[in-house]
Symmetry: C2
Subunit: 678 residues, 2 copies
């Protein structure tokens, strides 16, 4: 170090790191030596503009210094050039070219940090810390020298080491190696390389390049969703979805597996179709956002076990029957070309999150990454409802996971007037407990059915059916109004009070709307939902048994269904255990969010791999207690379980429970058939 009078003091905010450096040191160098997180792709050459900082002005008593913009060298040629090229706000400086002249306090804006945080909308979840698996490094490589005949690749490694402190990197993709020599010469010995997980070069371009992208994929049985992200900012540039074309081989997963069982070699059709769809969807988000396919270097994927297997090219028939053996339950990294993706960089790496068990896939691993029950003290119950319901219960000390066979009732199938969530579908409903008259809202119209303007709008849109979340609300209101008894039967005695309660012969139904379509709830509709909710509740109850807890502190409803239902009615029907309604959260597409977290933060991949290994997997099919819970959970809300918190918030529930007899053993035979999954 030079003499003290030739040095100056610098403090960086918000990290608070500080030190003394020789006058004339670039601010970026000071930051690096202090371990301050400032981004750079060009390596201090004034090209990328990632290292922007602001000099704080004023007296900082904490640091005991007077900071001033004049204590930094004035803007020079490189910063003016950058300003002309890309724009540089007056107070901003490129820290690679601003030299320390005197004591200063430097503000590092969030946008200049490598490990910046990507803020999530929901208050109760952590932000994502940027740490992508792909990093770009601009390198100036030594020209070849006959006196020291290192190969081009080895001189590139030397540059990465010297200019970026990238150590231990020894590998390069063969296709990249084949292009390396021309890239170096075309770029006049300046290239940008993409490094995957600090270990392998997966792309090289001549000259400077500062954009790399990734796609987070959620492959569902019905739909496939893709989110194209900027790997430096974490920003989602484009999201899109497509139908899973495998639907033509069967609506639900088991019918697709049956297709393969009955058509040997048929797995190839399913594999090909899902990969084609993913490639095309990737192309769509890439084209729409205007990025070059070549710059899409990383993908992360979640899916249920069968989608997981098919996307990886593995025949899923083992998952079609007991013991439901996964080919692998580990996270897997592979080339895009290995899974047939042809619309991104061919050396892009695809990371598939680990599966948890034969019925609990990498989508649930994604949900865990998104919701982080393992980082909380509170006992959290996470429910992701689809054809199966994946259930996770736990906290920082232990996690349990299971899958319950809810069937497709929650998705509106098996419901006589069920339909998908589209304009005209009933999504909200209230029943007057005195008159038993309903009022409701349909998708596409803001007014309730008893409000002005509804009829005109309804005439235009049509009142066509009840969507999946609507049916929960309808049944909940029927229960609270006394139309449904707690054993799930529609109370025929009420037919005397209201024409809406109609006899179908042996059973009764409740008429909601009598227009172009006649929309009513039949006894069979109630039974279908009862079976589904009993399976869901029994899974949660089984995990609570295993965890030896009698209540949960927090419930997260993941997936589209969880987003749209009103938690109050889910609880009134006994789909989920008792919990303060303010502690029930809708997480949206948490599986997809998990894929995005794995895309933006490489450490999370190791985390989820480790977490999945520690999860206790519970197989509902072999647990006798599941059957017991299932039987009791046929009652509404439940034969045994108390809901004190819910009853405090929904007093009429108390009345229902007091009046109604406990359901004993209704529909035993029918339940048995459903229970035997194999």
């Amino acid at each position: 170090m030079p003499l003290k009078e030739n040095s100056a003091f610098v403090a960086f905010m918000p990290s608070g790191r500080r030190g003394r450096f020789p006058v004339g040191t670039p601010i970026l160098d000071c930051a690096r030596q202090l371990g301050v997180d400032i981004d750079s792709v060009c390596g201090g050459r004034g090209i990328c503009g990632r290292c922007q900082v602001v000099v704080a002005e004023g007296e900082f008593s904490k640091h005991g210094i007077q900071s001033s913009a004049t204590n930094i060298s004035p803007r020079g040629e490189p910063e003016n050039l950058f300003d002309a090229r890309k724009g540089l706000a007056p107070e901003r400086r490129l820290s690679c070219h601003a030299l320390l002249w005197g004591d200063v306090v430097i503000d590092v804006p969030a946008s200049s940090q490598v490990h910046k945080q990507v803020v999530r909308k929901r208050a109760e979840v952590r932000d994502i810390v940027m740490d992508p698996a792909i990093r770009l490094h601009y390198c100036v490589v030594d020209e070849p020298d006959m006196h020291n005949p290192l190969g081009d690749f080895e001189r590139l490694l030397k540059a990465l080491d010297e200019q970026w402190d990238v150590k231990g990197l020894e590998e390069i993709d063969m296709r990249v190696l084949r292009n390396l020599q021309s890239a170096l010469r075309q770029g006049d010995w300046k290239v940008t390389v993409a490094v995957h997980r600090g270990l392998r070069i997966t792309a090289v371009w001549p000259g400077f390049k500062d954009k790399a992208y990734g796609i987070a994929l959620d492959i569902g049985s019905t739909t496939i969703a893709a989110h194209l992200c900027d790997l430096a900012t974490g920003e989602v540039l484009e999201s899109d979805g497509t139908m899973n074309p495998q639907i033509r081989f069967g609506e639900d997963l088991m019918s697709r597996v049956s297709y393969i069982m009955m058509n040997p070699g048929g797995e190839d059709h399913l594999i090909e179709s899902v990969r084609r769809a993913v490639s095309d969807l990737a192309k769509d988000v890439i084209d729409t956002s205007g990025v070059t396919p070549d710059a899409v270097l990383n993908m992360t994927v979640v899916g249920n076990p069968i989608m997981h297997h098919l996307f990886l090219g593995i025949n899923p028939i083992e998952l079609g029957g007991a013991p439901f053996a996964l080919a692998t339950s580990s996270g897997m990294t592979m080339w895009a070309t290995e899974v047939g993706l042809d619309t991104v960089n061919e050396d892009a790496r695809v990371y598939m999150l680990p599966c948890i068990a034969g019925h609990v896939g990498s989508d649930t691993a994604g949900v865990i990454l998104s919701e982080e029950p393992h980082l909380r003290d509170e006992m959290t119950l996470i429910v992701d409802v689809g054809t199966n319901a994946e259930i996770v219960l736990g906290n920082r000390y232990e996690l349990l996971a299971a899958s319950s066979p809810t069937g497709p009732a929650f998705e509106g199938a098996q419901i006589s007037c069920g339909q998908r969530a589209a304009p005209g579908a009933i999504e909200r409903l209230r029943i007057d407990p005195e008159t038993l008259e309903p009022r409701f809202k349909i998708i596409g119209c803001d007014a309730w059915s008893n409000e002005d303007g509804f009829d005109v709008e309804a005439e235009r849109i049509g009142i066509t059916g009840i969507c999946g979340s609507g049916i929960i609300e309808v049944l909940g209101e029927m229960l609270l109004a006394g139309i449904l008894r707690t054993d799930g039967t529609i109370d025929g005695a009420l037919a005397a009070r209201s024409a809406r309660v109609e006899s179908d012969g042996r059973t009764f139904s409740y008429l909601i709307h009598n227009g172009e379509s006649r929309i009513s709830v039949t006894q069979n509709d109630v039974r279908a939902i009862q079976l589904a909710k009993a399976a869901l509740y029994a899974g949660a109850a089984l995990l609570m048994d295993k965890m030896a807890v009698d209540h949960v502190d927090r419930i997260v409803l993941a997936g589209a269904f969880g987003t749209h239902i009103d938690p109050k009615y889910a609880m009134v029907l006994g789909m989920i255990p008792d919990c303060g309604l303010d502690r029930v959260y809708a997480a949206g597409n948490a599986a997809g969010t998990g894929a995005r977290i794995a895309l933006l933060n490489q450490q999370s991949r190791d985390d989820i791999q480790r977490i999945v290994k520690t999860i206790t997997k519970v197989e509902t099919a072999v647990e006798p207690r599941f059957q017991e819970h299932f039987v009791k959970a046929m009652a509404l809300p439940h034969a045994d379980a108390a809901y004190p918190q819910l009853e405090a918030e929904v007093p009429e529930l108390t009345k229902v429970r007091m009046l109604a007899p406990v359901l004993a053993k209704a529909d035993e035979g029918r339940r048995r058939r459903r229970r035997s999954r194999a």
Copy 2:
């Protein structure tokens, strides 16, 4: 440990390791606990027979015990079954099923050791210690269990850990993963896996399998050689060669590079043709030896830099001109499919040895692995003569490497009566110094030309030309007989003494044979060899300068040329520096041997990578001293250098050197043209 009376003493030979174990312990378990090297593929299940041992009988005073075959449990069912199936010599026992009953001394035959030694024919080189990159492990995998839903892959890893102590393995090839479930079920949860370098599963088969193979490849400009090896025994099952089909794009390397320069995209033709040839050659050796292509799991490859690049699919034009930049000088591991090999297991791994410099390829790295100059105290000069001569000089303290542009004269090109080594070619020759009459031998006939029976045989075969090694002997004898002066001119004055010395006008020639073909040595032939040998000598001398040594202790002549020439004549002509003739060794195809060593011993791959980094590379083209040495080395044997050791063994050389004037500056212009390589 149990009580001492319930234990017994066991000593293993030849390692000498010994210990005390409970009575009833399998001998294989004793060996493993003592770290004794005993092979096993089946993991102690009596299937593979790799763990055979012999009980030594008698008193072993060193160990203080009386060893007897009755101190081992008698042969039981598994050993009898194995005997019936594969044969088991009476004195042999399967150590996995022979139990310790009393004190014994156990002989472990070399064939039962994992790290057995593969003996090489030459006494002066080390044996190869078996340690292949591919190991087979027979595993009994837990069946899937709904109570513990680990994936099939993870249960396989568990078996590898528990049954084979394979730790830290987490990876599997995607294609192997896709077949894993069916292999496990087909094999009734017993499979054999191939593990590459202890880190990745690259093959899986149902049931027991104990054979894995590898191919060592030497890709030369003219010929490609393949050696198919058993990866357990190290045995070469089949060797074969084929012409390099790239010859149609140019005889020598530079004309192939010119082809690419003049035909953009033309590299694809060269890449495709060499890969096709390698695939076909692999198929040939596989078919001939009767192994299944699926069991060929590893390949190692050496080649000069241009072959190295083309085989890897890299355009070699950068190697066509200064500064001769390699794309990479590191060893590379890739899939067979990545280099277009389609006749071996598609998940076979190909290891390409590292290159040393732009003119010194992975073939020279192979030569170093084979000859191990870095393990010797003696100063060793290694010369591998082809179109270029690769030269390595050094010992355990330092290694230097260079390439000299010898041109194709040593291969018989540029020689008027030159031909390839085939029946009818003159390969040996002696000249009577008094009469100047020659006698010679041709390939295909055992008799000398002055012996009985020669004429009949020669009539049948034909006397057609002089092969590459023959021309060295012819010139050497001409020099020793005084027909050649030390400046390389044919002494026209001798035309008066012998009709064999004939005038061609300005120069003279020496007539060897006047039959159907007229075979003579012209002045131009001598000049061509002089230029080639001067380049070779100058390269060696330059390295000796750099190493600051005035002599070498040992010379290794690698390659076919080195195998066939008589070192005496090479030294008489001054191709190589002075050295005791008994310290000159012909190493044969040392590059190919190096590939074989890398195939059989994985550690050697890391060794050669490390060694290559430490080699000092000398570029002859930019060294002024090379030109000086070149000029002086035009003389025969050399203008300056003394050959005291050679003169002691070949006294007539002294006479030649005493009589002849030192060559000054003949053919300066012609030499200049040759020297400028670019």
